[in-house]
């Protein structure tokens, strides 16, 4: 099985190359790159030309001279063919150099590093809370199958599942932040965050994160709850639980000691997939709550055509999801010795 996982890890390489080449090519082929953006800005600044005409006139009508333009192109590496500049970019990545943001001029890694704690905070909190609520709820629903508790919670969970997280965000913002004013409208911390005591800071962050966490959780919630419920019910129906019951074991003990342990397996396999959630989150939710996270950074840099940042996020994001997939398989193998991969 070790050989199988080594093979899986090696397969990351071609996939990773494929993803990055594709997106790299797309960013190169598309008009409106950083240079065009700068030209427009320069023109707007000089004001001697109506900006919307610049597109038709192209480079010829721009305010920059030919040599300046070439310098710019060279600076951003746009003067070389796609494959060559991809090679240079890849070499830098291997040396752990993500390049410089064309928007801020600071290293891409710096921008990403600033956002990481926020994204990790929301990722971890979402995962913890989801597990903490879904496992007990799933057990309850399995034991109380087809009762009112089960039916009503099913409907609620399904509604949460049906609507996208950001729409859930809009709902909770409208009700709890705008009308009831229980929670802040947006942001990660209050303006006076630095003046607060440690406990005050913790409270402040928690206070700000209640609504976004609801939005983050609403989707994953249904999947986990039903996974837990169905797998527990499958196990309850299995022969070994019937045997235990037949020997006179109490139902409660049978659930806790036998069925529950086995039904946790599918939940554990989900763990690896959640790693991507740490970072990816949802930029729509981040946009609505104005959280300065990883997703929002990706979205903004894409809108602003800040391709080094886009590529940097792609590198980290895709690596994490590829590794996360393998990790979740490893989790399965660890938790359940019956699973054999690579047969």
């Amino acid at each position: 099985m070790t050989a199988y996982f080594i093979r899986r890890f090696l397969l990351i390489i071609p996939t990773f190359l494929g993803i990055t080449i594709l997106v790299f090519t797309v960013t190169r082929m598309v008009p409106g790159g950083p240079i065009e953006r700068m030209l427009t800005e320069a023109q707007l600044a000089s004001g001697d030309q109506v900006s919307f005409q610049s597109n038709n006139q192209g480079i010829a009508g721009s305010t920059l001279s030919e040599s300046q333009l070439n310098q710019l192109k060279e600076y951003y590496g746009f003067d070389k063919p796609i494959l060559e500049s991809y090679g240079i970019w890849l070499k830098n990545i291997l040396l752990l150099d993500l390049g410089y943001s064309t928007r801020y001029g600071e290293p891409v890694w710096e921008s990403i590093k600033q956002r990481l704690p926020i994204s990790i905070y929301y990722g971890v909190m979402t995962m913890l809370l989801t597990y903490m609520v879904c496992i007990p709820l799933g057990i309850l629903k399995a034991i109380k199958h087809k009762t009112h508790i089960d039916n009503i919670s099913s409907i609620l969970v399904f509604i949460g599942y049906a609507i996208p997280g950001y729409v859930m965000g809009i709902i909770v913002i409208t009700i709890f932040a705008f009308y009831l004013e229980w929670f802040p409208l947006s942001g990660f911390t209050s303006n006076n965050f630095d003046e607060l005591s440690f406990i005050g800071k913790v409270k402040d962050i928690l206070w700000h994160s209640v609504l976004p966490l609801i939005a983050y959780m609403s989707g994953a919630f249904a999947v986990m709850t039903f996974l837990m419920k169905n797998s527990l019910m499958d196990n309850l129906a299995a022969d070994y639980v019937r045997t235990a019951m037949a020997k006179g074991m109490e139902f409660k003990t049978a659930v806790v000691k036998h069925a529950f342990r086995n039904s946790i397996i599918p939940i554990a396999t989900n763990f690896g997939e959640n790693i991507t959630l740490f970072l990816a989150g949802s930029f729509l939710i981040e946009k609505i709550f104005n959280i300065d996270g990883f997703g929002l950074l990706g979205y903004e840099s894409l809108v602003e055509r800040d391709y080094p940042v886009v590529m940097g996020i792609l590198v980290i994001g895709s690596l994490l999801s590829l590794i996360g997939n393998i990790l979740s398989d490893i989790c399965v193998a660890l938790v359940d010795p019956r699973v054999r991969f690579g047969a």
């Binding site: 996939t15 997106v23 049906a162 609507i163 409208t174 894409l302 792609l314 999801s321």
Partner: protein, 350 residues
């Protein structure tokens, strides 16, 4: 005499589907909504349903525009039927106008002097859910937005399933190098953040309905392909496939006559979830401004307006309620279909 003979198994599945009440009723409501949305012009429209003028009847809903001078007005462009109705009422003549329940279309702005949109819901102006920030009727935007979203989602679903089933079946049936090649391709393709690429594409070309379907198809064919591949792999190993091959059936016949009919439950089970996914995807794109160009009536655009104008609660509440209702009902249908195909009968301890 039924035209199509359903097998007893299909009938039993359908019976089980009907026994899941909330799914069954959701299906009836959603299907009626889709059918009604096809003739939405009858219910929500600025054109009158019927005009009786000087003893003659006119039906302006469908067909060419009727210029104002036909009804004795002093202009050549399309008649404003709301004004016409007002005029007939004032004149107290025998002429009359029958307007639809919501006498506005999705594009016109209803502006009155000294009154800035968005306007709150009002029965007097017949804006039952109010107007949006430029004065368009919200009911009209919702209804026509629904029609676009649901048909976008249905067309996307058909394309996805055709591509997914074709490639998936071949991957599972042929296996080998073809399977391996597409496996890698799917892995690469599904790791590309699709919203990124759509945003990039949308910034170059202004998408229309069909180009958006094609772009979305490029990034959503993978999941169906994957399910069909697994299903075909399983079916291929079974005796009936071997038997038909021994009888001389070719690849096409085995796939179309044997494997696909036996995997149809997978395809049907995923339909409601794909519909919900399609609506959500289009709404998100429109919300960000990368979807269908304005002034196309769109749920995403209304959602954007709603969150930007929280002080006008009728916008955000009507769009959110519509989304919650439609998506929840679609999900209920999905749950019922799954229950119908795979009834889970569990031992329960008393």
């Amino acid at each position: 005499m039924a035209l199509i003979q359903f097998s007893p198994l299909t009938l039993k599945t359908f019976k089980r589907f009907r026994s899941v009440k909330r799914g069954y009723w959701s299906a009836i409501i959603i299907i009626s909504l889709i059918l009604l949305s096809l003739v939405a012009e009858v219910f929500v429209n600025s054109r009158a349903l019927m005009v009786s003028y000087e003893g003659e009847w006119y039906f302006p809903t469908y067909g060419a525009i009727i210029p104002g001078d036909v009804f004795g007005l002093d202009y050549q462009y399309e008649t404003n039927y709301r004004d016409l109705k007002q005029k007939f009422n004032d004149e107290d003549s025998d002429n009359w106008v029958l307007l639809p329940p919501v006498p506005y279309n999705a594009f016109e702005t209803d502006l009155t002097v000294g009154n800035y949109p968005p306007n709150a819901p009002s029965f007097e102006t017949q804006h039952y859910l109010g107007t949006d920030t430029v004065g368009r009727d919200i009911v009209a935007r919702l209804v026509y937005g629904f029609r676009i979203a649901i048909f976008f989602s249905l067309f996307l679903l058909i394309c996805n399933y055709v591509v997914g089933t074709a490639i998936g079946c071949l991957m599972g049936y042929w296996g080998g190098a073809f399977d391996l090649l597409f496996q890698r391709l799917i892995e690469i393709w599904s790791n590309i953040p699709f919203l990124y690429v759509i945003m990039i594409i949308a910034s170059i070309i202004v998408p229309n309905f069909w180009s958006l379907v094609i772009v979305m198809l490029m990034f959503s064919w993978m999941s169906m392909t994957w399910y069909m591949r697994t299903a075909t792999y399983k079916e291929k190993e079974r005796e009936y496939v071997m038997a038909s091959r021994a009888l001389g059936a070719g690849t096409a016949r085995i796939i179309f006559h044997h494997i696909i009919p036996n995997t149809v439950s997978i395809i049907i089970t995923f339909i409601p979830f794909s519909v919900a996914g399609g609506i959500t995807a289009l709404t998100s794109l429109d919300f960000l401004g990368f979807g269908l160009p304005p002034p196309t009536p769109s749920w995403g655009e209304l959602l954007r307006q709603g969150i930007d104008n929280l002080q006008s609660p009728w916008i955000v509440s009507s769009i959110v309620m519509s989304m919650v209702l439609v998506l929840t009902m679609v999900t209920f249908i999905g749950e019922a279909i799954r229950e119908a195909y795979d009834p889970k009968k569990h031992t329960i301890y008393e």
